[in-house]
Structures are given as structure tokens and as C-alpha cells.
């Protein structure tokens, strides 16, 4: 071997470095270990990861370290992701860490994120479903530890703001493995006992593990299932748990939670009541004044003060009607009169008058003529009657009697013509031409041969 065949340190180190960088497993390794020799520096960080059997140097550049969300401490168990390389100046291999998470908590965090996403999708965070808080609650339940500061703070605040509010504590473990079940059981108790206006659920501050029960799904679901407003107060203001998301109201502190369930303080309530009473009286006065004003208006009205006026109008109307009536009747008469005149004129204009005169003449003529005819006819009749009378005169019984004949009548004036009409001794009257003679029948003798 010639000296020239020997490698330089640099060449060897470069070769070794290439071995690391070429290996795909070395480019990204996942390592769980305990932080050692950590002392926070201003820029890049240098420390070690170790376990019971080995130790590896670690470098973490400033940009990667800035993304670490937790406070890194010596002795902390961590999960690291990075690559393995060689640092030629010291000849050491080291791990350059790109991502760092606390061991154990990381899994919790993943679970938290997962549950958070699911519940949000389910709508359990929907603030529109929040139960409204009562303005004047009577009884509020608190699910928390009986020994913590939470219940103390709540009691103090309620006493100050609204002392008549009854607080009922439902003691529950708020950390450890049994806590979640305990909290769920007590929430269900609150629902079962009933007649609560709200429930506060919470605990004081602590590590993420301490708060963990409030990130459990069954606690979240128990809160969501409540039929009264749930106010959550878990940990400090910066800690946010699933319970806070699911609760109807999230209070940063127990005091704030107590304020939530007492929206109106006793003093405010008294003030509100006073205002309401004032409004009541004002409103009533307004109505009274309004009605009084109406009454006064009505009372002052003409109708009541001068009742005559009630029928003034009627009187006036009667007058008017009377006047109109007076005008109407003569007008009717005048009208009739003028119509009569008109008709008379029309009558005059007809040729009825000459026609009447003519008819009168004609009638006179006819009368005269009929009179003449009558006289003539009467004369003729008289002459005829004279002739007849003369004829009759020859036949007259008077003429016969003048010749000596007589006729006899009985007492009744009946003509006695035959023997049977005479009874012996009967008084009869004998009629002769110049008078009558009373006689008595002396005898009656019938002669059969006369006819």
C-alpha cells in the first residue's frame, strides 16, 4: 500500500455521509424517546434523544422548532420525525428533527381532532339549538367537584347577583379514568331530578390530561342530550374542550358561568319591575285622560249644552216644507185655470157653435113640421071620430029609450034581462029616457015561445 492509497479523513467522512443520505430509511425516521441535555437556545436547538439503552444527538433548526406547539422540557417523552445525517466537523452522526410532538398527548390530540370533526358534522355544535336561559331562574344544578374552587366561585357569584337562586351541587369526579362516567351519570341525574332551569358543568384549570374527561365523546353526548341550558366552564380561558363546544353556553370561568345563569341581578329585577310599574301607571293615566277628554268634549258639545238645537233643524225643515207647500197649491190651481182657459179657447175655435145653431134650426124646423103633421092628423082623427059618434048615436040605447024603451036593474045595479033575474017582491030600478023609476016585482011569468 502506497501512502497515496490511503483515504483522507474528509473523503472517508464524505463517503460515510453519503451512506446515510443514500439510504431511504435514513431520510425519514420516526423515533420515540426522552429529551435529554435540552437547554433552550435562541436559534437552532441541540439536544439528545435517549432511552434505556442508547442515545442520539439531535439538531432542530429554528424554523422547525418554531412550529412546535408545546413547551419542550428536559426529560419529556416525545415523538420525533426527521432524517439521519453526519456532521463532518465533529464526525458525529445526528438526527435533524423536522416535527416534534409530545408522546401520549399526541394520540389524545388526534382523538380530540377526530371527535371534534365528527360532532361538528353531526350538528352538535349548532348554536341555534341552544336552550334559552331563563331571566329569573329558580334552581340551577352544578356538576363539578365538591372540593374545587368552581363551586365556591359559583356560589359566591350567585349570592352576589341573585341570591334567591337555589344551587344544587351534583358532585362528580372531574379528573381521572372514572371522571367521564361520573360526569355523564350526574348529568343524567340532573335530567331525572328535573325542575332545573340550567346546569353548569365544569372544573378548574389543569393539564390536558386533567381536562381530558371533558373531551370524551360520552360526556359530549350527555351534554347534548340535556333538555335544559348547559353552561360549560372547563379549565382556563385558553383551554377549549369538546364539552365547551357542545354546551349551549361556554363560560371562561366559573364566575362567568354563574353570571350566565343569572342574566338579571336582583337589583336589576327590582329596577325592571319599578320601570314596568311606572309604565303601567302612565299607561293607565293616559287612558283615563284620553277618556276624560272625550267625556269633556261630549259634555261641552252643543247638543248637551243647548238641547233646543237638537230639533232646530227639524223646525227649520218644517218651515221650509210649509213654504214649499204654500207655493205648490196656488200654482196647481193657476195651472188648472189656465188649462181650462186654453181648453175653452180650443173649444171656441172649433165650428161646434155654428153646427149647434144649424142643428137647432134644423130641430126647430123638424118640430114645426111635426106639429103641423100632428095637427093635420088630429083634425082628420077628430072628423073620423065625429062620423063614428054620429053612427053610434043611431045605435045608442038612449035613442031606443027615447023611442019608449026601458031597461031594468036590480038592487046591485046589475042589468036584469030575463025572468030568472027577477024575484017576486024584489025592488028593481027601471031606467027610462029621462030618469029612473023604483018598482017592486009583483009577478014573474016566463013565456017560452019568445025566441
Amino acid at each position: 500500500m502506497q501512502p497515496s492509497d490511503y483515504l483522507t479523513v474528509t473523503a472517508l467522512t464524505t463517503y460515510i455521509a453519503r451512506k446515510f443520505s443514500a439510504d431511504p430509511y435514513m431520510r425519514q425516521v420516526y423515533v420515540a424517546g426522552e429529551v435529554s441535555n435540552f437547554r433552550k437556545r435562541a436559534g437552532h436547538q441541540y439536544f439528545s434523544l435517549k432511552d434505556d439503552g442508547a442515545k442520539i444527538n439531535v439538531a432542530m433548526f429554528k424554523s422547525a422548532f418554531a412550529k412546535v406547539k408545546f413547551e419542550l422540557e428536559d426529560g419529556m417523552r416525545v415523538l420525533a420525525v426527521g432524517r439521519i445525517g453526519v456532521y463532518p466537523p465533529s464526525g458525529n452522526y445526528q438526527m435533524t428533527i423536522e416535527r416534534l410532538e409530545p408522546d401520549g398527548i399526541g394520540a389524545l390530540y388526534a382523538a380530540f381532532q377526530q371527535l371534534n370533526t365528527n360532532l361538528q358534522k353531526e350538528g352538535l355544535y349548532d348554536i341555534h339549538n341552544a336552550w334559552p336561559l331563563r331571566q329569573y331562574p329558580r334552581r340551577v344544578a352544578v356538576v363539578t367537584s365538591p372540593s374545587g374552587a368552581v363551586i365556591q366561585d359559583i356560589m359566591t357569584t350567585v349570592k352576589r347577583r341573585y341570591p334567591q337562586l337555589e344551587i344544587v351541587l351534583f358532585p362528580a369526579l372531574v379528573q381521572g379514568d372514572a371522571a367521564a362516567d361520573d360526569i355523564v351519570a350526574q348529568l343524567q341525574n340532573v335530567d331525572r331530578v328535573g325542575k332545573f332551569d340550567a346546569v353548569i358543568v365544569g372544573r378548574g384549570g389543569g393539564s390536558i390530561e386533567d381536562l381530558w374527561p371533558f373531551n370524551e365523546e360520552r360526556v359530549a353526548r350527555a351534554i347534548a342530550a340535556m333538555h335544559i341550558p348547559v353552561v360549560s366552564s372547563v379549565g382556563h380561558e385558553t383551554d377549549v374542550t369538546i364539552a365547551d363546544y357542545v354546551a349551549d353556553y361556554r363560560a371562561a370561568t366559573p364566575t362567568a358561568a354563574a353570571e350566565y345563569v343569572t342574566p338579571v341581578t336582583k337589583v336589576q329585577a327590582a329596577l325592571n319591575l319599578q320601570k314596568l310599574t311606572d309604565r303601567l301607571i302612565r299607561a293607565q293615566n293616559a287612558i283615563l285622560q284620553q277618556d276624560r277628554a272625550r267625556l269633556d268634549r261630549a259634555r261641552g258639545s252643543v247638543m248637551l249644552t243647548q238641547p233646543d238645537r237638537l230639533y232646530d233643524n227639524y223646525l227649520q225643515r218644517v218651515d221650509q216644507l210649509r213654504t214649499r207647500l204654500g207655493a205648490t197649491v196656488p200654482r196647481g190651481l193657476t195651472q188648472s185655470a189656465s188649462q181650462l182657459e186654453y181648453l175653452q179657447k180650443r173649444l171656441a175655435h172649433t165650428n161646434l157653435v155654428p153646427r149647434i145653431a144649424q142643428a137647432q134650426l134644423h130641430t126647430q124646423d123638424l118640430q114645426r113640421r111635426s106639429e103641423q103633421a100632428m095637427v093635420k092628423m088630429l083634425t082628420q082623427l077628430r072628423q073620423k071620430i065625429q062620423a063614428d059618434v054620429d053612427g053610434l048615436d043611431h045605435l045608442s040605447p038612449l035613442k031606443t029609450m027615447a023611442r019608449g024603451y026601458a031597461f031594468v036593474t036590480d038592487k046591485q045595479g046589475e042589468l036584469a034581462q030575463a025572468t030568472k033575474d027577477f024575484a017576486v017582491g024584489a025592488d028593481v030600478t027601471i031606467h027610462v029616457a029621462d030618469g029612473t023609476i023604483g018598482a017592486r016585482v009583483q009577478s014573474v011569468q016566463e013565456e017560452k015561445s019568445v025566441h
Binding site: 334552581r139 356560589m155 334567591q164 337555589e166 344544587v168 358532585p171 327590582a270 314596568l276 293607565q284 293616559a286
Partner: protein, 77 residues
């Protein structure tokens, strides 16, 4: 607690309703009078409730389901 009796809140709501109606002003006088009377007695009762309200004593629900007075200093655990 007497559940049959209307709560403070219910009484207050009723008083508010009365005031609102009276403030509208279109209530017949007789009705307004009786409502006003109801309102005044409600207000009196509410005032009395507020003034006489005693500080409620905090209670604790025991494991046996009993309500007991809660003294936070009793069991410092």
C-alpha cells in the same frame, strides 16, 4: 317549592303583557280599569317576592338521591 303558583317570570310576563296592551291605548275603560288593577296587584306581588326573597341555601345531591345543605368547607377532599 309550590309549582302550582305562577313563577316570578310568568307573573312578570303577565305584567308586561298588561302594560303593553294598556300602552296601545285602545282598551275600553272598564277593561283598562280591571287590567290596571290586575297589573298593580301583580306588581305588588312581584315586588314582595323580590324584597322578601331569601338567599337560597346551596344544596348537594347525595349518592342516595337526597338533597342536603351543602357546606363547601365540610369535606375538604
Amino acid at each position: 317549592m309550590a309549582d302550582q303558583k305562577p313563577t316570578f317570570e310568568e307573573n312578570l310576563q303577565q305584567l308586561e303583557d298588561i302594560v303593553n296592551q294598556l300602552e296601545k291605548g285602545d282598551v275600553p275603560l272598564e277593561q283598562a280599569m280591571s287590567q290596571f288593577q290586575a297589573g298593580v296587584s301583580l306588581a305588588k306581588e312581584l315586588d314582595k317576592t323580590l324584597k322578601e326573597a331569601e338567599a337560597a341555601v346551596a344544596k348537594v345531591m347525595t349518592e342516595d338521591g337526597e338533597l342536603k345543605t351543602f357546606d363547601p368547607n365540610a369535606d375538604a377532599k
